[in-house]
Amino acid sequence: MEKTINRRDFIKTTTATTAGVATLATGITLTTFVNANENPVTNEKRWGMLIDTNRLTETDIDGMVGACQKEHGWGSDKLSTGDQKASWIKKLKVKDTATGRISNLALMCQHCEEPPCVDVCPTNASMKREDGIVLVDKHLCIGCRYCMMACPYEARSFVHEELTDQKEHMPRGKGTVESCTMCVHKVDKGEQPACVASVNSDAVIFGDLYDSSSKINQTLKKVQSTQIRADLNLNTAVRYSGI
């Protein structure tokens, strides 16, 4: 039997097939979005933090430091002394000399959009991920400490001694520079950084700065906030209100 196909049937079949393929394609796209960890991070997001110094108590800050130490395993280095000690996040007291008002800050890597540490690194070890998190690639770090000198926030530390029993998710070793990773291993799983999770109130908010529905984005639109050393035009991802 000779098979003939008229114009109407042809259009019907083609439309059905196209619709089928489209449905399938949508399904695939959805799946890839669900398994975000299989795909490289993109610059559609920029992770940031807003710290409200009016609401953040000294106990909160100590809690944040403790949570960071516990999460990443720093702070118990036996042989390092004084300035050699690791300090990924620190408590800072700032005083307004005119009024005498004292504020307490938690200061860590500010995850700049234009990070000076990345500019000066001779081996490309100091790097910024597409989603704005600034990291040290210890595989490439030669321990020259240029980045430590370049950082206006003194956020980086150098490991002076041999270490064992590191955390599984946080390799640390002698001769490399390290700093706050914004708990990148947790963020990639959709969790909050350890220091943010340790604060019970809304004094520290973490989220995507670009997402207009995120809490951090909406709060930043409403409240007065500032970057530390905003004059350097680094566009930091960690912002402060109340100072």
Binding site: P40, L163, D188
Partner: protein, 127 residues
């Protein structure tokens, strides 16, 4: 005649010792996978030859791009290839004498640099 017997026995003993050491250093979980007849790596010869490349590629993907899949993750290597100490819940560091990494690396005199930073045993609570 005696000489031949001694030679024969020493060969048998060497074989047995080498075999014993090999299975011992394979690691607890890798051993149980092997015993169950399953394979984890597609080809042993490929993983033996190519594991530095796989790990280097994976490290860049993970650190720089945030791709955190299990395939070729160093954490995965350590989890499977670590051996528990006798009568203890603690593990031998995977790079220590006679353990999985050091057995070959010592033989070919290539130092392993991974473990100056990376953890050498599975984390507490890991399977």
């Amino acid at each position: 005649m005696n000489r031949w017997i001694i030679l024969f026995f020493s060969l048998i003993m060497t074989g047995a010792f080498a075999h014993g050491q090999k299975t011992h250093s394979l690691g607890d979980e890798a051993h149980s996978i092997k015993d169950s007849g399953k394979t984890y790596h597609e080809s042993i010869s490929v993983i033996r030859k190519m594991h530095p490349e796989f790990l280097n590629h994976k490290r860049d993907k993970t650190l720089r791009e945030g791709v955190r899949t299990e395939e070729y993750s160093l954490k995965g290597c350590v989890t499977c290839h670590a051996t528990k100490k006798d009568n203890s819940n603690d593990y031998h560091p995977v790079n220590s004498e006679g353990q999985f990494c050091s057995t070959c690396h010592k033989k070919v005199a290539t130092s392993v640099d991974c473990f100056s930073c990376h953890r050498t045993t599975p984390a507490q609570g890991a399977k």
